[in-house]
Symmetry: C2
Subunit: 219 residues, 2 copies
């Protein structure tokens, strides 16, 4: 079983659907399912069976007619494709409201993302302890990120300073960044940057309500 | 200027791009831009100019050759399409780590989403004050949601109880729900449900790193 896939651009929504399949397969495993049909997976995700089959065949997984997919095998395969079959060392910058909440967010560690370093520029926060991690001075970012072998950074800093800080993160050699500030940050082409903007999902809801956008019907 | 658009399904990614255009237009307005070209908008969003023109023409906005789009006009139009040209009354259920952080998340109010009610089932939290809002007992959900004329609910409760609580939210007549629990909730077809799963963005990053997925190049 190999995670090596074609280097062509796979759409964002396909990757997100893999994350969803992964969660459903974990649940099915707990419920002692050995196999699952594309129809059942589709029902649980509110997708069409054709979409499920297309996504999975793209990654070289084919169900057996009448039996469907082997739950454990498919779960391990997606785990490997998503890169969550390993442990990731993550630093979080900005121990404010959102940052503090993220330190306690158990889902991260469950998926293999371990926040092991915290940084802030506030003297009142530096040296304080959050869930067993002592907050470091942002000034020591480059040195500590390298020493701790950090490969991902979560940025939970105010929008006004986020570009300066992301520049420092890039200088420190980090190439994967999840940004919570509601701004478009500039990073070099070799850096992976994702934005988490929680109000955008509310905007999707207001759009839907204002435009009478029919919600997806569970099938 | 009307927000009425065809009732056909508009893709999730188009709506998210509208949210991004909106933010960029607000910024351009602050920078005193009167007009903006599709090329400039595309550059800021890391999209192609063709994609920008396609998205905007879909909503009946056409730039003027050589001048581009009027920044203020386009911003107001998107505001109206997204339904953020009004104030939304929002209740938040679950005043734990994530919930408490969301109460302080300023971006919500900036976009017109006002958290005016908090609910929890923990006796130690009920009656306590968060940013001026007193936490209500979840038992009074239906009554208080109706009295306060709430139209959206943010759900920040543990995954294990989220289905029971979403059932109560639906019973209380709310038809727009943003769920932070990492589970697929069942809701009737007339309810708009969106999921915010913060670890899915990290999975996108791990996918990208493991598969040498080329990041989008800023143009």
């Amino acid at each position: 079983m190999s995670a090596t896939i074609a280097r062509k651009r796979i759409s964002e929504s396909t990757i997100h659907r893999l994350s969803l399949y992964y969660r459903t397969l974990s649940l099915l495993e707990k419920e002692n399912y050995e196999t699952v049909s594309s129809k059942e997976l589709a029902k649980r995700e509110k997708l069409t069976p054709a979409q499920v089959r297309k996504d999975l065949s793209f990654f070289g997984s084919f169900g057996t007619r009448g039996l469907g997919y082997n739950v454990n095998e498919l779960k391990l395969k997606i785990e490997s494709i998503l890169g969550i079959d390993r442990e990731w060392r993550v630093a979080l910058i900005g121990v404010g409201n959102i940052g503090s909440a993220l330190v306690s967010y158990k889902e991260f560690a469950r998926q293999g993302f371990h926040i092991i370093k915290l940084f802030d520029n506030d003297q009142r926060k530096i040296g304080s302890n959050h869930k067993g991690i002592v907050v470091s001075d942002i000034k020591d970012l480059e040195k500590e990120v390298k020493e701790a072998n950090i490969s991902m950074v979560i940025l939970a800093v105010p929008a006004t300073v986020s570009q300066y800080i992301v520049d420092d993160v890039v200088k420190a050699g980090v190439t994967a960044i999840l940004n919570f500030a509601p701004v478009n940050l500039r990073v070099p082409p070799f850096v992976h940057l994702r934005n988490e903007n929680m109000s955008m999902e509310l905007e999707y809801l207001s759009f839907a309500m204002v435009n009478n956008h029919a919600p997806k019907k569970p099938k």
